[in-house]
């Protein structure tokens, strides 16, 4: 029960920071997402109380935008750039390789919660195509054979 009230307290702080006005909803959810790496149900319940926005409206916004996740994301977000330049340079092959190696589909998280695999468009580093961003780090000119080592390095970091 203590955990739930931690989320409640933090969420109330976030709402206070941005203001209770309905227009701040997205900014509030962005801060919650950054804090917990997803949008906990209790946090959204607190938002509903504090900002007096109907739960269905909050849920609509939470599920509409790509940057929000209702389920915990992995420690490292593996983002395959699927911009046009990366696509013509073979990004889909990199995605397949990552799916094989991580044993998950795009949009899923590994069982040990280490990696979440997603597609992102576009990182705007087109001269370095194809690009994959892992934990915020850009990996340029990526080829399939470099992937196992890179993933291994992140696993070591823990």
């Amino acid at each position: 029960m203590k955990r739930a009230s931690d989320i409640e307290v933090k969420t109330k702080e976030i709402v206070k920071k941005h203001g209770r006005d309905k227009s701040s909803l997205i900014a509030v959810l962005q801060d919650i997402q950054e804090q917990y790496n997803y949008l906990p149900k209790d946090a959204l319940a607190t938002v509903n109380e504090e900002m007096e926005i109907p739960a269905s409206r909050i849920y609509e916004v939470a599920t509409f935008y790509n940057s929000f996740s209702l389920n915990p994301r992995g420690r490292y977000l593996v983002e395959v750039c699927a911009g046009t330049a990366c696509h013509v340079q073979g990004a889909s092959r990199l995605m397949d390789k990552l799916q094989r190696d991580l044993e998950i589909e795009c949009g899923e998280t590994t069982k040990d919660n280490m990696f979440s695999l997603e597609e992102v468009r576009c990182l705007g580093c087109c001269s370095l195509a194809p690009v994959v961003r892992i934990g915020g780090d850009i990996h340029p000119y990526l080829t399939q054979d470099k992937i196992p080592k890179i993933l291994g390095n992140y696993r070591k970091q823990g």
Partner: protein
């Protein structure tokens, strides 16, 4: 912090900025835009910092935005008093000691600069700032001048006027290059009507893709009923492969702010919003810092330049939805709602954000404004071509040698961009097509290489200007796969409100998927074409309304590829995995076994030192074998 409330204050700040841009000692500037950092510029910066400290040098180390030459990043510039500015490309931390050595020694023996800059244009003031005083030093005579480089020769830098030159976190450098003088002129010497007239005279058309005359929009918003109005900057650059706006927001954030303040004054708005996609954290950070700086200098807030005009700007981050680049969806997002567009039968200039008159323009549109105000709308209208005046920034990417950001006068032939500026197609491959307008645009085939690049010509050719993404394709790009790629993108980005887009684009995607998977049927092309009209006409917004464009334009110019996929179950470009085979050439294969080891399905077999073979039944067409073969023995059929 002295507030800037008169032109003399501006001039004083400008003098400080000039000293910063042209210091007495040595200054080293690192290109630290997102693309530069991705290429390793932050590590180079750290290495330079360390080396300078280690050698106890009093060099100034600074950051700048993107010069546009992504293909040679990280870029490091060295500025020394009275000498040309030197630009070094592909810098690495390992090369840093050598660079410092040659600066100390006064030569370029270790590392050759890519180009030198003797003088710099300041387009706002129509002046030239001199780096070089006197004769060119002997040892630099063979270093090409930037204006001689094919990449730069045909460029005209109005929007990107400061990118790669100033430190985006230094307002005084911005002012030194003419910044905020347009604002002073507008607020102190012009009426709102006069400003709107000048923007109309300039012929500036919206740079976000729609191409609607900006001045006309301003005028409608100005005359709309209501005391509270808004100006909005659309920084939700969502087209994959387009990053022009990002580069400007990162490299020259004050130019966006200044443009918006002028616009707000002309329209009668007191509040402004910059909506930036959350995938651009550096742009958000630099804009936020610039807004703070502008505020503390009195250029945002109350009584700007000692007038009655009050105005301030707020940044709002997107949350990951391409559709929020559409103006009504963007406004819904600003209001804290899901980004669903609404019908625009009642225009947003009359009923926009919170139902109030709102003027929304793209980043690039706003950035043109200070230049138009200082040089005049008439001057601007002489650049480009009559119905597409001014310049356009493009992100030139894909199968092209010189990948980067370019700014060219409207009307320039496509050929000049691809061959002169872009340096042609790498690896000796054949140029096939250029895609403009992102998912809303179309392909321009190689046969139309002389097409002038302007709003109307692109539209007539079945494409559109879009926000400025220009993807170059070669013989190994499958045009059917490209159409499928764009449609698939739109399926995941469709808001889902209206039937033609939500259901229609999804069905187009199913058919295109089938075609690329070898399951295309006779009549599929005709079905795609017939659906296209209904989707274009029936969709609620431009996302759905322009979704069929890439499909229609690739059908128009590359019908034979569609036919090959459907009738012959073959992908001529060698891309669609279901329709290609990887084969090992018995002649070239040395039997080294590397490919067999790496194959994820273990479908390659063979004896040591003898030609290997791929078991087609187990092959998943991942391409790892092709990537790892050092003997060129693997071909795609």
């Amino acid at each position: 912090m002295k507030k800037i409330s008169a032109i003399d204050d501006l001039k004083k700040a400008g003098e400080k900025g000039l000293k910063s841009l042209f210091p007495d000692g040595v200054k080293i500037v690192v290109g630290m835009a997102t693309s530069g950092i991705a290429a390793g510029a932050d590590k180079v910066y750290a290495a330079l910092n360390e080396e300078i400290k280690k050698r106890k040098l009093s060099y100034i180390l600074a950051k700048t935005g993107s010069m546009g030459m992504d293909f040679i990043e990280p870029l490091v510039d060295v500025i020394e008093k009275d000498k040309p500015r030197l630009s070094y490309g592909k810098m690495t931390p390992a090369k840093v000691p050598q660079l410092i050595d040659q600066i100390i020694k006064g030569n370029i023996d270790n590392i050759k600069p890519i180009y030198r800059i003797d003088e710099e244009d300041v387009i706002i003031t129509n002046e030239q700032y001199q780096y070089l005083k006197g004769k060119v030093p002997e040892y630099l005579k063979d270093v090409p001048k930037i204006s001689e480089l094919p990449f730069y020769k045909k460029q005209v830098k109005i929007v990107t006027r400061n990118c790669g030159i100033i430190d985006p976190e230094n307002i005084e450098e911005y002012i030194a290059r003419g910044g905020y003088f347009a604002l002073q002129k507008a607020l102190r010497t012009m009426t709102s009507d006069a400003i709107v007239e000048d923007v109309i005279r300039s012929g500036l058309r919206g740079r976000g893709g729609g191409g609607f005359p900006a001045g006309k929009k301003w005028q409608s918003c100005r005359s709309a009923q209501g005391d509270i109005k808004y100006v909005i900057c659309n920084g939700d650059e969502g087209d994959p492969g387009a990053y022009m706006d990002r580069s400007v927001m990162e490299g020259d954030p004050h130019s966006v702010i200044e443009g918006m303040i002028i616009g707000a004054y002309a329209i009668g708005a007191q509040e402004g919003y910059i909506y930036v996609r959350n995938e651009y954290p550096l742009a958000v950070a630099n804009l936020a810092q610039a807004i703070e700086e502008a505020r503390s200098h009195g250029l945002l807030g109350k009584n700007i330049f000692d007038t009655n005009f009050n105005f301030d700007i707020k940044i709002s981050k997107g949350a990951g939805a391409f559709v929020c680049g559409e103006s009504t969806a963007l406004m819904a997002s600003l209001e804290g709602k899901a980004g669903e567009p609404r019908a625009k039968y009642i225009h947003t200039v009359e009923h926009g954000l919170w139902d109030r008159p709102s003027n929304l323009n793209n980043v690039e549109t706003w950035v043109n404004v200070p230049v138009i105000i200082t040089r005049g709308g008439k001057w601007f209208s002489a650049i480009g071509v009559p119905h597409s005046t001014g310049t356009k920034v493009f992100s030139l990417v894909g199968k092209i040698n010189n990948i980067g950001l370019v700014e060219v006068p409207m009307g320039i032939p496509l050929k000049d961009i691809v061959y002169d500026i872009g340096g042609g197609i790498p690896s000796g491959k054949q140029f096939k097509a250029v895609q403009t307008g992102g998912p809303s645009g179309g392909a321009i085939p190689a046969a139309m290489i002389n097409l002038p690049v302007d709003f109307d010509s692109l539209w007539e050719a079945g494409s559109m200007m879009g926000s400025g993404g220009m993807i170059v394709m070669d013989e190994n790009t499958c045009m059917v796969d490209l159409a499928r790629y764009f449609i698939e993108f739109l399926v995941s980005e469709s808001c889902g409100k209206c039937t033609p887009c939500r259901e229609g684009v999804r069905r187009m995607n199913d058919i295109l998927h089938d075609i690329c998977a070898g399951k295309g049927r006779q009549g599929d092309v005709e079905i795609l074409e017939s659906m296209a009209k209904g989707i274009k006409d029936g969709s609620l917004c431009a996302l759905g309304g322009s979704a069929p464009n890439p499909v229609l334009s690739t059908i128009k110019y590359f019908r034979q590829e569609y036919d090959a996929h459907i009738q012959k179950k073959c992908c001529p470009a060698g891309v669609c995995r279901a329709l290609i085979r990887y084969e090992i050439s018995a002649k070239k294969c040395t039997g080294c076994g590397v490919c067999a080891k790496k194959c994820p399905t273990e479908c390659i077999s063979g004896e040591k030192k003898k030609a290997h073979k791929i078991n087609q039944k187990k092959c998943i067409k991942c391409g790892v074998c092709l990537e790892s073969c050092k003997f060129d023995a693997i071909t795609v059929k």
